[in-house]
Symmetry: C4
Subunit: 195 residues, 4 copies
């Protein structure tokens, strides 16, 4: 991560809507990790995009996440869609292309459906892709690891959010180090993980 | 999955006979996942084949599965065999070849025996192969992951059924989306998985 | 496994001595799986070799295993050694070479020490190697998987014993099928595995 | 490991400071495994280096580890740093280069941060890298395996300390075998691992 210019990287948070979250085990932990990634991206100047699956029917992206973007930016960074892949949301590829984004940090739900299809599309578009291992989730626990392993085999990076953002910082001399450390502490109260 | 034309894909369900199922932990969950895959394949127009290991002695494929095929199609889609590999069932390769099937979605039992040997044969025949991670099972729990990892290393895809079928759908605009969502719900009552 | 001529395959059981076994969790299960592999190899005509680490000091290979070889063959198939790698036991490479063995099925203890170094040596000798996932063990549980993954990455096959031997059989028509099935049942009473 | 000349290998123990250790589950086990690796390296003539993250603020490397080096050598083998990667500690690359070190055995904390970035840097420098699976740790348990898998995919070796050091010994004839066995026993009292 620490070699790509930050301008070419974007965080893409897929379908974090309450309709889906309520069916997911540990949904609050997942929401907190996505909020951490979103706040970290804001801090480090990484563009952040949200998608919503058929929001007219299924409701909006969790306000806990969208409220982390500056109010005037929310609309431009929110993409409704009917396709499962986030890259097929109307306008998404144009925006990524306009900003010369060639590396996506991917979070959201569900791992075997919209996250998987987004990653496959990104690979087909020859974009680099980093899945946040602590930022993706799904209803069926045992479906998770086979999907992650499949995506890793086609070249997708799979890393926890801290590995990604600490790599971008690079060291304690980074001007945002203190603010980032505060973020890590803030989200350290997240419910304990299962080992 | 979403790039292969649907006509060239087949679902192959191996040896789901009661004799074997009764020795397998979580057999009811496995049977339900195979039924889900079979119903999904029917819905999406994916040809489905069953094999039975020496059925004269060991009994038929579970009627819960075969009853999901239209009655007039059952016989033509059921292959008795003595070899462990499903591809060595008499007539199987001819049928796959006649239908120009070059990608198999594989489910059934047992992972280290008939499923493994079928996947090895498919690799030797240069057919693509997708193992359903939630659709295969065996008596010995710890034997599962080494077999899956071995097959993945020789190019076998390993994905849960939902990842496969949602990829074929591609989005909420697909004409079978509603019916498929109903199927997912129907099989959501399956006994909870172990994480 | 089902493509190598059986004559070129050998089972190599490393250092199954009581001194080491008594320090290993689930030693009785491991001993049973090695006995199963040894009996299966005898049945299928696969040469079987045992090594013992400094047996003058540390005692003999468990008689439960050596007693499975015909009495007159035991001495010629038992290799004492001081090196950790079984392939560095005096006379071992000559015997393997004389019998034109180019594929080793490997079992025994300890996974991170003698098993690991044997597999590394085999890779350096360009011999094929299949680790029996249910036939290897060690004192420290968490040391197991990293070693297996490391060996898999350099081309070592990793499979449970049933996957290996059922592949050699190929089907219910094999003349040894019934006898092998009886063996599987005999060893099915092995203490239940941890999932 | 057993092919690299021992002079070209170094043990690098990253940021084992109490500030970080107190936030880590099983910190005492981790500290013991790093002490084992350090003692083993001393015994076998492998140079050992420690780094400390901003020690003026965050305190020194645990004396349990530094006290294992001869008193006169401690200062020259201890590298304070502000960057997360150990290879960016002032003077580190020069020392490694002067000693013609081209293979690092890596231990310490935290796996997704300083250990990860050190391994990435080593890969970029085309140095060989062996992560000690039992010698690395971090606050968040679930973040561990994705990082290990990511590093393994870019060519990093991942092995437990015993696999590494027993490979360097090669056999019971090695002059340090008895002393090493005593070390293994001394650290065998380490709190039991989780399977």
């Amino acid at each position: 991560m620490n070699e790509a210019p930050i301008q070419s990287v974007a965080l893409l948070v897929v379908d974090m809507q309450d309709t889906f979250l309520k069916a997911i085990p540990d949904a609050q932990t997942l929401l907190a990790r996505c909020a951490f990634a979103t706040e970290a991206a804001q801090l480090l100047g990484i563009r952040t995009f949200f998608t919503a699956q058929v929001p007219d029917k299924l409701g909006p992206v969790s306000p806990r996440l969208t409220s982390l973007l500056p109010e005037e930016a929310r609309e431009a960074h929110l993409f409704p869609k009917t396709a499962f892949s986030a890259l097929q949301a109307p306008g998404m590829m144009e925006v990524l292309s306009n900003h010369q984004i060639d590396h996506l940090i991917l979070a959201g739900i569900e791992t075997p459906i919209c996250v998987y299809q987004t990653a496959i599309d990104a690979a087909n578009e020859e974009m680099a892709m980093t899945l946040l291992s602590d930022g993706i989730g799904g209803r069926r626990r045992d479906d998770r690891q086979p999907v992650i392993d499949s995506l890793a085999r086609i070249g997708c990076h799979v890393l926890p959010a801290e590995a990604v953002f600490y790599s971008i910082l690079g060291g304690a001399d980074h001007p945002s180090f203190k603010a980032f450390t505060a973020l890590v502490k803030k989200y350290g109260d997240t419910a304990p993980q299962q080992s």
